[in-house]
Amino acid sequence: MFDAIFRFFFELSPVVFSQGEYRFAPTTGSYVAAALVGAGAALTIYAYRSGRGRTRDRVALAGIRLAILAVILICLFRPLLVVRAASPQQNFIGVLLDDSRSMQIADVDGQPRANYVKSEFGDQTRGILQALSNRFTVRTFRFSNAATRTTQESDLTFAGSQSRLGAALSGVRQELAGLPVAGLVMVSDGADTADTALGEALLALKAETLPVFTIGVGQATLSKDIQVGRVATPKTALKGTTLMVDVVLSQSGFDGQKVTLDVEDEGTLVSTQEVSLPDAGVPASIPVRFTVNEAGPRVLRFRVSPQEGELVAENNAREALIDVRDRKEKILYFEGEPRFEYKFIRRAIPDGDNIIVTSLIRTADNKYLRQGVDGPDELVAGFPKTREELFSYRALIIGSLEAAALTGDQLRMIAEFVDKRGGGLLMLGGPRALAEGGYAGTPVADVLPVLLDRGNVQAKGVVSRLNVKPTRAGMATAVTQLAATEAASMEKWNSLPVITTVNRISGVKPGATVLLTGTDENRAEQPMLVHQRYGRGKTFAFLPQDSWMWQMHHSIAVDDLTHENFWRQMLRWLVDGVPDQVEPTFATERVEPGEAAQLVANVVDPSFVELNDASVLVTVTGPDGTVIDVPMSWDGENPGEYAAAIPTKAPGWYEARLDATRGGKVVGSAVTHFRAAPGDAEYFDATMHAGTLRRIADETGGRFYEAGDTNSLAEDLRYTGRGVTTVEEHDLWHMPIVLMLLVGLLCAEWGYRRAVGYA
């Protein structure tokens, strides 16, 4: 529309004006005419200098008259627009057609985007392609992962699982290198699914001054659609762990509607809940709770059933891979005095659970009882005295044990356990814990999420009785979920009995999160469970001394599992994500079949000091049972970090087993999984991304068009200034806008005179 209006007034396309140069081509007659115009101007000024009427009116009329003379004078000097136009049929045009699955979305007048591409670019005898072919030699490419040459309509399948705009542009640029290329035309919905930034590809095009003309296909907003957006899941979890996952939902056309959000674990429904959809265009985060009970690599599917009239059903589900580990994870619990909290925490973890609580309880001075130990030697000398021994545990619980019971080195070791080893530390409340236990000013206090002050301690014998409830942040964690829904969980918290604390903290550290808060008899609130990440690990402070009331209290039913569930989840969180000596990470959980998976592994010794001279070998077992060995090498930059690219062929699951050795001795091993499968990113955020396409055009000197508004495309491409060109001169004096301007000025003068009574 804008183009048509512009052409009506200026006869030429805006591109011609932007590409051309302006100059005058006066003749001898022009100078004679200029003298006459000058005389006319002088006469005008003289005539209006005095006379009847107001000065203001005379100035205005003189100004209009002079403007008319100026326009005439400019026209007499013959202004020209000089532009280099591509010579017909001597230049090439690269046309890139998006062949990805998102082009199947039917949002172009109710028809799939692919239909538009086929009708306009499917054959040189019709549509835009015909218009281009009349002027240029056209090279057509289709692209999804990369661009490939296409010569016939049937090459377009619209089945690509990705749209890598940058890679496609770079590929075509290189393909056409050396040819006189007038420009590139990209026809796409602009949904770029590449992991790499677009900027690099654009920079190369800019350097070559190769303009890209982009055509956006599809609607900027889907009329009716529900999308399961981001799902944030941990990469690994211990078997039996209950996870709280935020699922981001967005929609258009379904305001206020209720839908069912399901979670499937390899086809088995593990969670279902009814949710109210957020307002259109406003993504909402929905907390979803489910338990992973099956070990191995599991694909979790978060799904909203397709609703009637939805344009894209494929973006109603999002998949996430979780490596569910079925192994024993040991937690060391050091308790400083016999008390029921110890008994009931131990009892919350049943025999055979993946969590093993190995405990050391001090029953009397220099007298300890060990429980859950692997053999007669474990902890026989009391609390670990070396880093190797302490770091063999994945988490540490310190009960009511005064700091003085630990040596300075042991206190430092505990801090390093969190900071360097990446373990989880939980300090329980009690008369010998926290500030009351003398931890203020120790290395352990540095890593705790609460502030301790040795001058601010609870007086001996003073007990605070509190009702404990989760905070808003706490409700978003699995540990506070005591029932199936958030409302039921809150109701359960409200019904729990009062518990007590004998500790006082001086505040919560910046960056720490209060998960549970307690309200005492005076309605004063204080944090009860506080969490923070510290270094590679995490720490918790749990202030109550008798959470066992949630088990024993008379108001709690025998079959009530509140206490058990709380502590099982708490301890699972404590060991969650704690690194091993060999810790593998894939850049992405999924790669396209045939692509290499980028694997990075951190390798440390038993004291968790990074090793740069280890031998790390990855044994990869493919979905068809083929086994290949891929050596990993230290990346030379980051201490202890090894990298390798794992090739893939067939789609399916790949198991990677890493074995690290050093000097012939085993350092450690790890097993991880990834899968090669076509991605479904095409269907997410599947609207037409005008911004991306406009950016490509703007940065390369091209132009963006919406599908259906491309009439000037072929003409615009003539004026890119690239390839074999001829110089064209366009006279500007006979543009309709000039005549309109003159007539307008004359009318203005006449109208003004009429208005002030001169005519």
């Binding site: 016999p338 029921f340 309880i361 029953t363 007298k367 009882l369 008369p431 024993m552 008379h554 709690i556």
Partner: protein, 267 residues
């Protein structure tokens, strides 16, 4: 570890001797006398309770109808559940406090019925003379919930055919549970003191037997209750400071008591 046990045992001796010395002095002043000590307990003391504040309290289970207490139809006017009260627990609490890092109330009785809601705040309880134990439905329900949730009960001071009543009453509480005889290898005999043999223990009423009820009747699981058949630990504790009971016997009795509490605190 072993030396710590020895030193703890020595502490018992010293503490018990200390208690004995004080009591002997009082006895010589004309306050004492076997039986008279008990009778000095006021019936009002039978309502003694302790409010929970996080510390360990020795809970004595009271059973039988309140009317029986009012009628005074008991031997020496003392109900069987109250035998050895309060001196037994006071002495025992002092020993616990002295020997272990357990934080306890001292000189404070805590008498609860099985249907008392406050009982749940004290997961270890003691019952004397279970041969005379009777209970109503509410008490039965209360004890069942107490044990299933994690409570632990010590049955003490019974002999001969008293075991039949204890068995019958416990069958009402836990119909599927059965008493199983314990030997010296059980962890309850090693939770603080290493009691490696039960053969040498001299019972108050005859040959002592230790019986226990396990969770799910599985000896590998937690003990819910322990019963000292033919023995009376409470008596040994009560008179440990009087000289009426040999120090060795009191000493042994304390060891069992400490082990019971430590076991229940850790299992």
């Amino acid at each position: 570890m072993l030396s710590a046990t020895r030193s703890a045992a020595l502490t018992i001796l010293i503490a018990a001797s200390g208690l004995s010395a004080v009591a002997l002095e009082r006895f010589e002043q004309g306050e004492g006398g076997f039986g008279r000590e008990r009778r000095r307990v006021s019936p009002l003391g039978y309502d003694a309770t302790t409010a929970y504040d996080g510390r360990f309290s020795f809970v004595r289970i009271r059973y039988g109808a309140a009317s029986q207490l009012a009628q005074g139809r008991f031997f020496r006017g003392e109900p069987p559940w109250a035998h050895d009260f309060p001196r037994a627990e006071f002495n025992f609490l002092k020993i616990l406090n002295e020997l272990t890092f357990l934080r306890t109330f001292l000189d404070q009785g805590n008498i609860r019925t099985l249907d008392d809601p406050e009982l749940s705040m004290f997961p270890i309880a003691y019952m004397s003379e279970p041969g005379f134990w009777t209970m109503d439905e509410a008490e039965m329900e209360g004890l069942r919930a107490y044990l299933q949730k994690g409570g632990f009960v010590i049955f003490d001071d019974f002999r001969e055919d008293h075991m039949y009543n204890l068995t019958a009453q416990m069958r009402r509480v836990l119909p599927d549970a059965s008493w199983q005889r314990l030997d010296a290898s059980h962890p309850i005999f090693h939770s603080f003191f290493e009691i490696n043999s039960l053969d040498d223990v001299e019972g108050y009423y005859g040959v002592v037997e230790w019986h226990g009820i396990f969770e799910d009747n599985d000896p590998g699981k937690r003990l819910l209750a322990v019963a000292n058949y033919n023995h009376d630990l409470g008596e040994m504790w009560e008179f440990s400071d009087t000289g009426y009971v040999p120090v060795d016997l009191s000493n042994e009795a304390y060891k069992f008591g400490v082990n019971y509490v430590l076991y229940a605190m850790t299992h």
